[in-house]
Amino acid sequence: MTSKHFIQFDSTTKQYHCQGEWTLEHIAVIKKELEKITWPTTDNIILTGNAVTQLDSAGAWIINQLLKTQKIKINIQNFSAQHQALFSIIKKQTTSELPPKTKTFNWLSRIGYFFYQQVKEALTYSNFVGQLSMESLRVIAKPSRLRFRAIASVIEKTGFQALPIIALLSFMIGVVISYQMGNQLRTYGANVFIVDLLGLSILREFGPLLTAIMVAGRTGSSFTAQIGIMKLNQEIDALNTMGVTPTELLLLPRLIGLVIALPLLTIWADIFGILGGMVMAKSMLGVGWYDFILRFEHQIPLRALIIGLGKAPVFALIIASIGCFEGMRVEKSAESVGTRTTRSVVLAIFFIIIIDAIFSILFSKFQL
């Protein structure tokens, strides 16, 4: 390069000389230089290219833009044959039309659209549940179609493998509840009532609810991701063409497996929750093991356990059906797997809490 400028005006020949590497790397500088030039408005402009050492499509494009924007005719001279060929390709391709911008909506229509989407989603979900029920009836009528191995594998993955984490968490919750309530009870000297409080709250509420929430995060998300990726890989389509419905092979085993596993997990959580409470009751409130168990037997009705356990299958249905539903709704992109998995967990926990509240209201109405 003779100078660091990419374009130079020769006043004797009245020509503009392009020089150096007209490449993407230098395109920003070149553009600035071109903008600085005050182009003559009377004569034709001559642009020479014999000093251009390298020209790529970005360089050719910017020269082409120049040709189009200037009112005066610009003649191009002395560019090599290869560069000329590049010009002609670029000239052929460039159209000034930009791709249409995606429409933007105002806030009102966005709210409307959001609402419409939610309603549509809800309808699709109920459609899905209906289809699932019909399919279950069909399979139950012919139990040989039930895939016991798949169900067993679901129970192992969602139930057995979750045992340690559920045990640890429920133990902690037992400790926490016992600690918080114990502080209040001690003030009134009613230490021993910790047994009633712990027993009822863990068996009726915390055991089933926390287990369900844990499982929604752990299992619901994995259902969605598994089925979603299978859908992206066209595995679901392949099943459909082979006359095996994905419902039968993938969804029902997950549904049945979780309905079996979740109540079992809930009993497990109840045991460890009470254990955690017992440890705390002994160390903080001085309620011994023997006293605790004796009072537990007298004060906590079997009803409390049954009510707690009764909720578990309902929660399991919610988790599994939402997890599978969102998985089946995955479409085309990796991003969609992400959003669907998030939705699956959020919706499952949302509905678990709603249903739990409804249960509470119903039980108090019927004085259970």
Partner: protein, 254 residues
């Protein structure tokens, strides 16, 4: 000038030697085809050249830089000078076609957005996509259009070296022929060096200057397509002298 120089490349995958002392050179401005039966290590070779899979031993020099021993900085210099079209396109599914194509521009060049868009749009049209496709997401395009979009992304930085993995797989004959022409145009106008991995015999006849035949962990033969089909090696004969090979040869006889 040599662009790629591979010597004594060895790699073991599982307990099988996929490459066992492979040598290959690619010179500037040529279109090299890489062929071989299934499982002969074509894709592995590509992954090694791209440093996605480090070889067990041997050296791969690209633009004079041994990429197997390059520091990240040196490797980046090489990476900026090549473009890759993957077999499955590997378009970013959460970005539109235009965003996909401008992505390397924004990462590696200092451009204002307007210019980046214009340049990207130029490449999008250059590969034969309508401008209206630019605002679509990859999932809204057909397979052939996705391939073109991926090619636009591969060439947006005006690379000196272009790797194409099965560029015509899954394309209709017309699109495939269009792509062959495009490769030749790019080569002649931008001075590209192209490495094509393909099974498409028509592409091999139409575009390549030389073809390397992989087998037994080595390059069995590297020659022009016409000479390669005459090679007496049984593996090569089996590959090219099937009914499809003969048909492709006949139609491409010049």
């Amino acid at each position: 000038m040599t662009i790629i120089e591979i010597s004594q490349l060895k790699i073991q995958l599982g307990n099988q030697w996929v490459h066992n002392g492979l040598d290959l050179t690619v010179s500037k401005g040529e279109v090299l085809g890489i062929v071989g039966a299934s499982g002969s290590g074509k894709t592995t070779l590509l992954r090694e050249m791209l440093m996605l899979q480090p070889p067990d031993s041997g050296s791969i020099r690209i633009f004079g830089q041994d990429v197997t021993k390059a520091t990240p900085d040196k490797l980046l210099e090489v990476q900026r000078r090549w473009g890759v079209l993957f077999q499955q396109n590997a378009l970013f599914s959460s970005l539109t076609v235009l965003e996909n194509v401008t992505f390397p521009l924004n990462e590696h060049a200092t451009l204002d957005p307007e210019m980046a868009n214009a340049l990207a749009l130029l490449k999008i049209q250059l590969v034969g996509l309508p401008a209206s496709a630019a605002s679509k997401y990859p999932s809204e395009l057909s397979g052939g259009m996705q391939k073109r979009a991926a090619l636009a992304r591969a060439i947006v930085l005006d690379p000196e070296l272009l790797f194409l993995d099965e560029p015509t797989a899954g394309l209709d004959p017309e699109s495939a022929a269009g792509l062959d022409d495009l490769i030749l145009t790019l080569k002649s106008t931008l001075g590209l060096t192209v490495v094509i991995i393909t099974h498409d015999l028509d592409t091999l006849w139409q575009t390549t200057d030389r073809v390397a035949f992989l087998g037994q962990g080595k390059v069995l033969c590297i020659d022009t397509m016409a000479a390669l089909t005459q090679n007496p090696d049984p593996a090569i004969q089996k590959f090219f002298n099937g009914p499809r090979g003969r048909a492709a040869e006949k139609t491409n006889d010049k």
